[in-house]
Symmetry: C2
């Protein structure tokens, strides 16, 4: 078990992605309840089953287990709602590495940046390309995006 503390921002422009290599992620949700989301994710040749507890501001409990990729493919077929597909870029900004997610499919057009922090009150250096903070906006939870994708907002 771990505690994930993460702040999330919209992305104003994508010049910092030029020339970067991203990782294609495909994921779905076996459970969407706010108390506990259960995510299946395939990233390259790796796959994970991840349980996350309810968000309390930027903080939530997280439990992640590697699973065989064949299992993950079959588990994705059990996910009741839409899948999320996105390309993730890791962009160092001062003391942290930000994860910039460029969404595809039904969430095409959405680009979000997340930074994981050691505690909620850790100071961060906001890059110029980071826009509005959406940490507390449940529409941007990936579990919510699988049910109510960005292009339908």
């Amino acid at each position: 078990m771990g505690i994930e503390i993460e702040r999330k921002f919209l992305v104003r422009d994508t010049h910092m992605l030029a020339g970067q290599q991203g990782a294609f992620l495909s994921q779905g949700y076996l459970s969407h309840t706010p108390d506990a989301t259960v995510r299946v994710r395939i990233s390259g040749e790796q796959a994970f089953l991840t349980v996350k507890g309810r968000n309390q501001g930027a903080r939530r409990a997280e439990f992640e287990y590697p699973v065989p990729i064949e299992d993950a493919r079959a588990l994705l077929l059990l996910c009741p709602a839409g899948h999320i597909e996105k390309t993730r870029y890791r962009i160092p900004v001062a003391e942290y590495v930000w994860e910039v997610d460029v969404f595809h499919g039904a969430n095409e057009g959405l680009i979000v940046a997340e930074v994981e922090l050691p505690d909620e009150h850790a100071p961060i250096t906001l890059p110029a390309w980071a826009g509005e903070e959406v940490t507390d906006d449940p529409r941007y939870y990936n579990s919510a995006l699988s049910l109510h994708p960005f292009r339908e907002w």
Copy 2:
């Protein structure tokens, strides 16, 4: 991934449990949707996270992963509905070992026997203590019992 093929019966009498050692199981559900239940189970010093697909008669997909017991204790706290507690006895009957679950708490009074089979059409020897078959009755799914326990029926 595996396929679980299981038939389930009510239990008429419990004389076959006399002198047997049972294992206390505590479990909860992170997801109750029929398409995919996600179960957390603690059995003695072992714990598992298990995803099961939709029942198709006696058959369903099953994915089981061992998890640290400390994780399982924390995951049980995330389960939105009631927990299931039961004592499981393993009773050999002819060619198979039956699992007899004696429920506690809100499901006290319910005793169910399950037998796992290599295929749906495998012949089984029905012991005298096995009563009505409830394989296809969704009220007896453990995920359903956590939401609508036997004593409230």
